[in-house]
């Protein structure tokens, strides 16, 4: 849920990166953090296990510039991808303005991708959101791995609605900012409509 503050002339929006375990959600945020000017970003917080798996969420506040005198600020969150952290995932979706689904291109992760998209739909519905109406983009990550299936196949399986989608290699940044820009743009367009 966006927060418009007339007093500080700020608009704050929440974007959540969703996807199966080890698909690269945290890596997306780490890349954004590494490549953003210090004045445009806050501290990145990772609530992770000792083995660096996301336990609750990662959080990264970003400033994108001004629109009509209002500073636009985006709060990026990731969810824990592992199946058994479902209760935490639900909490993080509260008040979301836009979702990025990070799919893992590897053939052996196809089932996990499908399960995660379904889980996203269910958990959004529990919060009163409809995946078919919320600002939403899909990223096909790990394009560089040998067992990556074709984008066309991923598209068919994970993106039947044909929302904007981007091939990515998150550790090197391929597709990372394209994905972020696309979702941020959709969120602002939604706000313009009075969402």
């Amino acid at each position: 849920m966006s927060f418009i503050n007339y007093s500080s002339r700020e608009i704050n929006c929440k974007i959540v990166y969703y996807g199966p375990g080890l698909c690269g959600k945290t890596t997306n945020l780490q890349y954004v953090y590494a490549k953003t000017n210090p004045e445009a970003k806050g501290k990145m917080i990772s609530l992770a296990t000792e083995t660096e798996r996301t336990l609750f969420f990662d959080f990264l506040p970003l400033s994108l510039g001004e629109i009509r005198g209002f500073k636009t600020r985006f709060h990026l969150y990731t969810v824990p991808g592992q199946v058994f952290y479902d209760a935490s995932r639900k909490l993080i979706l509260k008040g979301v303005d836009g979702v990025v689904f990070v799919g893992d291109s590897q053939l052996e992760r196809m089932e996990a991708n499908l399960e995660s998209v379904e889980n996203l739909r269910t958990n959004l519905a529990e919060q009163g959101y409809d995946l078919d109406r919320i600002p939403y983009v899909v990223q096909y990550n790990k394009r560089d791995l040998p067992s990556a299936v074709s984008v066309a196949e991923l598209q068919q399986a994970l993106n039947p609605r044909n929302v904007p989608s981007y091939p990515a290699i998150a550790p090197t940044g391929v597709g990372v900012f394209d994905t972020l820009k696309a979702v941020a743009k959709q969120v602002l367009t939604q706000l313009k409509k009075g969402g």
């Binding site: 929440k14 917080i45 001004e66 629109i67 709060h75 993080i92 009075g194």
Partner: protein, 159 residues
Amino acid sequence: MNSGLVMFEEEFRLIAGICDRLTRDANAKVVFLVDKNGQLIASSGAAQNLDTTSLASLTAGNVAAMGGLAKLIGEKEFPNQFHEGERESLHMSIVAGRVVLVVIFDAKSSLGLVRLRVKKAGEELGRVFDGLAKKQATPGAQSPFAEITDDDIDNLFSE
């Protein structure tokens, strides 16, 4: 699709005034007010050395997690939480169902005093947020973003 929180100048001043007073009355180090979704609304006291954005996000995460726990045991939520540190402690309470009032205090204050002052401030804040909700629901209350153009949005993303 959703009705985000909108904060107007007038209500912000009222809220900031309540937080300032609470900081003084409770002998607190810092008071801040956070939307349940993790957006910082106001802060008061010695907040300049704190990363308030992170504090706000973690507060919301904590309240959400405790709310989840509450539901598991059949409670609606835990409206008040207290975390005791070696030197500084933290008191959180849910106000008007949608914002969290956080007080950070040390040995100069006490839990009893903080709880007492938070109760009063919470009631005052509740009234301000009720008023805000009504204002937002008024027909004709328009998002400032209704007038932006696609070009405005595109310009934000042009390098």
